[in-house]
């Protein structure tokens, strides 16, 4: 039986609905259309490398990285707690983790604004204790908060799903051999959970890098991120060529950084996600 054939329907699906559309984007990024017809050009790419756009790239990468790290720090312990619960409660807790995301994104973000505003709930409650808070909304930190809030489940779930599979006997063996809980974690649990961690990092980092609504609503649009820039090219200025070039470069950056992360993992662990 040729089991790998099972991947073929999916491969075909991907070819039609991912590869071809992406090829269209790639084509748009190297052409200009004017009255005389279609021309090949590299101008769009040249423009991407102007300082002003590089600054936007840099800020987006910075904010997405910080958000991903915070998600990992908050999410990993949570995944461990979830994984340690007894079976009947476990799947319910996991679902509870995802349900908030079923309440529409815009509605949830508006709700965050209600919480964080100057006259918002948090400021009012803290105000009762006579403490004046600095502005909670419209800072870089608010944008990070919004990203962590929205993408935390994407970190917790993959890590959790790997952690539950770890053989309890291995942990017990380590303990029997005299390992402290910390050493068990560092030498056994963490290395075994790495495939989940790298899935999680990718699933958080990528949407964090491309989102544009969070920085607009929670950041007060003070901070242009790469997602905003791309959205603006496709919708406001109708410069599909430049927009496509931006997203091609964005994809290259992500693929490169992923390749780097994966190679590191392979050395450590012998065969990661790639």
């Amino acid at each position: 039986m040729k089991k790998h054939l099972m991947a073929y329907p999916y491969a075909l699906w991907m070819l039609i609905f991912t590869i071809i559309p992406l090829a269209l984007i790639l084509v748009y990024s190297v052409i200009t259309i004017d009255d005389a017809g279609i021309h090949f050009t590299l101008d769009h790419f040249r423009r991407v490398f102007e300082p002003i756009y590089l600054a936007v790239f840099w800020r987006s990468i910075k904010i997405a990285t910080i958000s991903t790290i915070i998600c990992l720090i908050l999410g990993y312990p949570m995944a461990m707690i979830l994984a340690s619960k007894n079976l009947s409660k476990k799947s319910i807790l996991v679902v509870l983790f995802v349900i908030p995301m079923w309440m529409n994104f815009l509605a949830r973000t508006y709700a965050w604004m209600t919480l964080l505003e100057r006259n918002g709930l948090i400021a009012t409650i803290i105000g009762y204790f006579g403490i004046q808070l600095p502005s909670l909304l419209y800072t870089e930190n608010t944008v990070i908060l919004g990203m962590v809030y929205n993408f935390l489940p994407f970190m917790v779930l993959p890590v959790y799903s790997v952690l539950v599979k770890i053989d309890k006997a291995v942990l017990e063996a380590a303990e029997d051999l005299g390992a402290t809980p910390f050493i068990v974690f560092r030498r056994v649990i963490f290395p075994l959970s790495l495939p989940g961690v790298s899935s999680g990092i990718i699933m958080v980092f990528m949407p964090a890098l491309t989102t544009f609504v969070i920085s607009r609503l929670l950041g007060g649009a003070h901070f242009t991120l790469i997602g905003n820039l791309i959205e603006q090219q496709f919708l406001t200025t109708m410069d599909w060529g430049f927009g496509s070039a931006l997203s091609v470069v964005l994809m290259l950056i992500i693929i490169l950084s992923m390749g780097f992360a994966m190679r590191y993992e392979k050395e450590n662990q012998g065969g990661g996600l790639w």
Partner: protein, 348 residues
């Protein structure tokens, strides 16, 4: 696992049946596909139209001109009626995306105020019929701003640092800056634009946020002292919070229109014209205006509105104020310059 899936399936089936029943309809009637802003019509008007002319209306809503345009431009969807704003209409006319309307089929067009005919985006009035209109101005909170507000310059006053809400829209924000400097808001002149850019960069530290539709809740809740808003929204905000006041600055401003057009993709032009005529009926226009709360260009509908609405200068300002207001024109290739300025301001 299987059990969960089974319950899920049963649940969907139940829900879809309940919801599906409500949407069931039998015989086949001519169809009219309408694409409008969200919450921008009194929905009972659609029902009435369907009943009166025995036509099925498929009604969809969009969030911004740009999204709608991108979709239509790419060749998607054979809508019969669109209600975009002025500069988008201009662009669609230039790109030959609209049908000329046969005004013989729109007898109710005579109810449209002459002031709102032959506008800059459709000079011979061949393609569009005005639906709603309004201005852009400053909304301020009387408890936080004690001085008289009559100039855009107040948005550059240090006193109101982190109390100012600007619009996160490059046309509007650059436009009012140009107006403040005494230039046209459709300028393509590099020096004028450069000057506007400097002003916007200077203003940035004072701005609390560049907002979109959230501005309404912000101003009602007293989160900021000053905001740049559209007049239609100002009417709603003033109703919700009586401390708010709206003014169109003396340097002039933008006057905008949302007009009804028929795209080239339409396959039911006759029905579309029937629908436009229906919307221009004074009684129907009155009901839509009453529901939406924006300003109507229909002079007969205006007479039906209560005195307190029509005397409100926010929605229906004096002629003299409108004289200094400009309509946005499509910038065509110069839009890139505006985009560049806006990116530079925002990337600071």
């Amino acid at each position: 696992m299987k059990r969960i899936l089974k319950s899920l399936m049963a649940f969907t089936l139940a829900v879809s049946m309940i919801l599906g029943l409500a949407g069931c309809q039998g015989e086949k009637r001519p169809q009219l596909k309408v694409y409008n802003w969200g919450d921008y019509i009194d929905y009972s008007v659609i029902d009435e139209f369907e009943e009166k002319y025995n036509i099925d209306v498929i009604y969809d809503e969009f969030a911004t001109n740009e999204e709608m345009y991108a979709k239509i431009k790419a060749g998607a969807d054979d809508y019969d009626i669109l209600i975009p704003s002025d500069y988008t209409i201009k662009r669609m006319i230039d790109e030959d995306m609209l049908h000329k309307i046969d005004f013989n089929n729109i007898p109710n067009y005579k109810y449209i105020d002459d002031r709102f005919k032959n506008l800059a985006f459709d000079p011979n009035n061949e393609y569009s019929v005005p639906y709603m209109w309004g201005t852009v101005g400053i909304l301020y909170n009387k408890n936080m701003v004690k001085e008289t507000v009559d100039s855009w310059k107040i948005l550059w006053d240090d006193k109101y640092s982190k109390q100012i809400l600007m619009l996160d829209s490059l046309r509007d924000s650059i436009g009012i800056t140009l107006k403040m400097l005494g230039y046209s808001l459709n300028t393509k002149d590099d020096e004028e634009l450069e000057e506007a850019k400097e002003m916007l960069i200077k203003q940035k530290p004072l701005v609390l946020a560049y907002v979109g539709d959230e501005v309404k809740d912000k101003m009602i809740g007293g989160e900021a002292a000053l905001a740049v808003v559209w007049s239609g929204d100002a009417v709603y905000m003033k109703r919700e919070n009586s401390d708010l006041e709206y003014v169109v600055p003396k340097e002039g401003s933008n006057i905008w229109f949302d007009s009804i057009v028929i795209p080239k993709t339409s396959q039911n032009k006759k029905e579309a014209e029937l629908f436009i005529n229906f919307l221009c009926d004074p009684e129907i226009a009155y009901r839509n205006t009453d529901y939406i709360g924006y300003s109507t260009p229909n002079k007969e509908a205006l007479k039906l509105l209560p005195e307190e609405v029509t005397s409100d200068k926010t929605a229906y300002p004096d002629e003299s104020i409108l004289a200094d207001c400009e309509v946005f024109e499509d910038l065509a290739d110069s839009l890139v310059k505006y985009d560049r300025i806006w990116t530079e301001v925002k990337a600071q």
